[in-house]
């Protein structure tokens, strides 16, 4: 090849090379690897009540309605079942909500617990004034018991109720049998004439996993 031809070739090659570099894009070999279909299924926390263990579990509120009672009547007993209808183990806490007691003298309803379950201290004082021995075994007593664990959760006649406001731990699908008892004793006086007590017990549930709640009692 003549020198002239070699020089000409060199120029062409260099130009071509410069053109390729100037274009800027180039492809390297690449590869990707994928781990597919990773599933994260979240659990559920649910609590519901049923009158019978095999019945339909709905609603988490059990109503209380005491009316037309006469002193010495047999205690009214209401039993129902609270069930963990979710997939996760949970702590269940019962509380009184929207409770009112209305005397028969037309002075109007006295609120004892609000819709959030907070005790109305003024209302309680009023009730204790209006009704002689309100909450005592000698007049009007109200009890909530967990028959499954054999524990009394709440008793108006008790001096303290350490288990009330505590958590019951319930596994998914498990039930606790709850019993409400209210009785107007034969020694209840006329202040109880026409008394009407209404309200509900609500059961709240929270997951037990990763839960740092320390105030609870476990299911036996």
């Amino acid at each position: 090849m003549s020198l002239k031809k070699k020089l000409a070739m060199a120029v062409v090659t260099t130009t071509a090379g410069a053109a390729i570099m100037a274009a800027g894009s180039f492809a390297l070999f690449t590869s990707t690897a994928t781990n597919s279909a990773n599933t994260f299924a979240t659990g559920t926390v649910n609590v519901a009540l049923s009158p019978t263990v095999g019945g339909t579990y709905a609603s988490s509120m059990q109503s209380i309605n005491v009316t037309g009672a006469a002193p010495g009547d047999a205690a009214t007993v209401k039993t129902f079942f609270v069930k963990n209808t979710g997939s996760l183990s949970e702590y269940i806490m019962p509380k009184f909500v929207s409770c009112n007691v209305t005397p028969g003298d037309g002075t109007g309803a006295i609120n004892l617990y609000d819709a959030a379950g907070v005790l109305n201290s003024n209302g309680l004082s009023s009730a204790l004034t209006k009704f002689t021995g309100f909450g005592t075994a000698a007049a009007f007593e109200f009890k909530v018991e967990d028959l499954t664990t054999g524990q009394t959760l709440y008793d108006t006649a008790a001096t303290s109720n350490p288990l009330w406001g505590q958590y019951l731990e319930v596994a998914p699908g498990s039930t606790d049998e709850i019993q409400l008892t209210y009785q107007l004793a034969s020694t209840a006086n006329n202040t109880y004439q026409g008394m009407n007590y209404t309200g509900s017990i609500e059961f709240d549930a929270v997951q037990s996993a990763n839960n740092t709640q320390t105030v609870r009692h476990a299911k036996i």
Binding site: S31, T32, A33, N35, A37, N38, T39, F40, L88
Partner: protein, 214 residues
């Protein structure tokens, strides 16, 4: 003498004639170097989950599914074998505060050295792909990816949501051609602040690594 001169002249004329004509043949030869093969090298990134069996499948799965978990290892409803790096528990399904660690092995089955430089996640249509529950879940699910083999360097530690917007650059892992497994763990934590919005849902994602030639 005259004849000799004439012969010389003729020869000279002939030679001159030959030169003036312009075409001539030189001795030539050619040599060929044939069958030159340019075999391109390859990189090929493979993954397989590190689940104690050789069954392919997702790292995270929701039950003792016989397809994804035939040996019954590391189901969600049982604690991991003691001393196991992977596994975990989420009894009854994921709950806020749960943490589960799983792992996969990456391999470069090609011939060239590969640089593994990027990671991403994509939502899989087998689960919920939008809405309030989805948005809260991807923001409350933290993913920590660690390169266990040799260095233990953290490749990514942040919300799942940040992996869903295309490739995220990670500290480079080098994988020689035909190299052994690079073990990478994925630690998933659902933040305790997650609430009932994400309850009872199925979320499914694909996780991908990207490699290029070194």
């Amino acid at each position: 003498m005259k004849k000799r001169l004439l012969a010389l002249a003729t020869t000279g004329l002939m030679s001159f004639g030959l030169l003036a004509g312009g075409t001539y043949a030189l001795f030539t030869s050619s040599a060929t170097n044939s069958n030159n093969t340019f075999a391109a090298g390859t990189i090929n990134l493979d993954q397989s989950r590190d689940s104690g069996d050789s069954v392919p499948g997702p790292m995270f799965y929701s039950s003792t599914n016989p397809v994804t978990n035939p040996a019954g290892l590391y189901p969600y409803d049982q604690p991991a074998p003691s001393g196991s790096v992977i596994g975990g528990e989420a009894i009854g399904g994921w709950a806020p505060g749960d943490k589960v660690t799983r792992a996969l092995n990456l391999q470069n089955t090609g011939s060239l050295v590969a640089r593994i430089t990027k990671l991403q996640a994509k939502v899989n249509s087998a689960g919920v792909t939008s809405g309030a529950a989805y948005t809260e879940f991807i923001n409350d699910m933290n993913i920590k990816v660690v390169y266990n083999t040799g260095t233990g360097v953290v490749l990514y530690n942040g919300p799942l949501s940040n992996l869903l917007n295309g490739w995220v650059t990670i500290p480079t892992m080098l994988a020689a051609g035909h190299s052994g497994p690079l073990n990478v763990s994925f630690e998933a934590t659902l933040d305790p602040s997650a609430d009932n919005t994400v309850e009872g849902q199925n979320f499914v994602f694909d996780f991908s690594f990207y490699a290029e030639q070194n």
